[in-house]
Symmetry: C2
Subunit: 303 residues, 2 copies
């Protein structure tokens, strides 16, 4: 049974047998822009879910959210070299495009944009988008240049796909804050929508990097979600002293011998400035290494 | 005689008596985006001429060029503080919005976007667009941060106005190269069109800054266009040694006692790398101070 080509799909898009992968995977920027042009000419709204692939339920929930909000959903799958620092895991970052395509289609994605690196960064590429100030804190402190890489690629993706809405996971809380700031400051024409952190049944925040963990590290990593849960309970019990909560978090996490803290932050959710007192919208964010694997997790408290 | 509101003009736009200024001057980003949305909904093409105002024939020729190429022409008038360095002429840069509006209308401009500074740069503004490498040369060497200010404001203007085509004067040759690079690298959806340098009858390149010149400096400044003319004649005569041409230019300009050279460049037009031999598309560019006034002029040689 052949699925009909939807009205927004450009000529040349091939839709195969039921159950097979029916999406075309677009690799060239010009072809993606052409797809977008036809979608817009048809008056359809367009959602974008930017990812680095190796999709998990966190990504898929964003894709379903996008499908519910927009007529057409594009997902980008691109392991972005310029957001990785020297000695980070760019080379070893997990990749599985054929599996990704299958599960993305199941989540309602209409087109995947998966450009080669040289398509995004030709030899003479020299332009960058940079959000200052809030990018020097939290993950930015231990990953210099990371957010410049993120904002640059997301800016490019927004210009290529021209989405009405773009969907990002709250797990990367600082990334969300940085991208919202870029969109606001540069007057970009896209609405940023966030989806909640997806967790394994034992509480570990889903991440493509979780596969790096040994069995022992995997168990140890539960200290992140458990500690954040404990902080939430202390907040519910009325604690508002950010300093005390930081000490509490530090003690909880250092109690786990395999945990090596990168940062513990209790900060104002928009400016990422460290808070003295928990009031307003506050981000409680952690980055902790387990062996070679750096994991992040967070909690947003609306006071 | 009241002019009818054109079909692309949003509700609330006031068109007055013949001979009076009939354009609305839009000051808010949201209102400008609303104007643009209606233009695009009507299927009209949109041209943008970004300026810092105090319009001269250079700007007006770009506006006429835009009107010939696009259905609707927007001109922005915004003296962009972040492209001025400390000690530069941001405060004293000439401004005359009512005259600008009148002459822009005469050149076919349909809407002027003239935002207040705080509309473009609210207190919490922290995002920048930066083209590296080619911005460290020529004007970038003596004006650090200048091009970051230019690319940031032009990126914002492109996102606000979403023009099909944007028009820049070739007088600011490096600015043109930098903006083309930004548009290419960030995959922006706008075509960059350049217009030729407009000159006074005696050859001085038109510039809003020419009014700073004393009568004596004004005469001395003719050394720029005269020297470039002499270089062109040497090129026409077959000279291709960039080193010899640089020395020739230096001697010609230093012969003028009031001229204080900032730079003389003979470079590849795209990369702005200094050339040894004049071959391909070559930019011959000058920046020279006369008293407190820094003037630029250039010549592009297609070999």
């Amino acid at each position: 049974m052949t699925k009909e080509r939807p009205p927004y799909a450009p000529e040349g898009f091939i839709f195969g047998e039921e159950g097979a992968i029916r999406m075309e995977i677009v690799r060239q920027i010009a072809a993606m822009k052409e797809f977008v042009r036809k979608v817009k000419n048809n008056g359809a709204t367009l959602g974008l879910v930017p990812t680095m692939g190796f999709l998990h339920e966190g990504h898929l929930s964003l894709m379903r959210q996008a499908k519910a909000a927009c007529d057409v959903v594009a997902a980008s799958i691109f392991v972005n070299p310029i957001q990785f620092g020297a000695g980070e895991d760019y080379e070893t970052y997990p990749r599985d495009l054929s599996r990704d395509a299958a599960v993305a289609e199941g989540a309602g994605v209409d087109v995947i944009f998966a450009p080669p690196v040289q398509e995004m960064y030709p030899r003479d590429f020299i332009s960058y988008v940079e959000v200052t100030d809030i990018t020097s804190r939290l993950c930015g402190a231990s990953r210099p240049g990371h957010f410049r890489g993120v904002t640059t690629v997301v800016n490019k993706l927004f210009n290529i796909v021209q989405p009405d809405q773009a969907f990002f996971g709250q797990k990367d809380a600082q990334q969300v804050a940085v991208i919202k700031q870029m969109v606001k400051d540069l007057n970009m024409n896209v609405k940023i929508v966030t989806g909640p952190i997806m967790r394994e049944t034992d509480g570990l925040a889903m991440s493509s990097r979780n596969i790096y963990l040994t069995e022992e590290e995997r168990k140890a990593a539960l200290v992140l979600s458990r500690s954040l849960g404990d902080v939430r309970r202390r907040l519910l019990a009325g604690e508002r002293d950010a300093g005390l909560l930081r000490v509490f978090l530090q003690e909880r996490i250092t109690a786990e011998p395999l945990a090596d803290i990168d940062y513990i932050s209790i900060c104002e959710a928009g400016t990422l400035k460290e808070a003295d007192i928990v009031t307003g919208s506050v981000l409680i964010a952690l980055a902790v290494r387990f062996g070679k694997t750096r994991l992040i997790d967070n909690l947003v408290w609306e006071g």
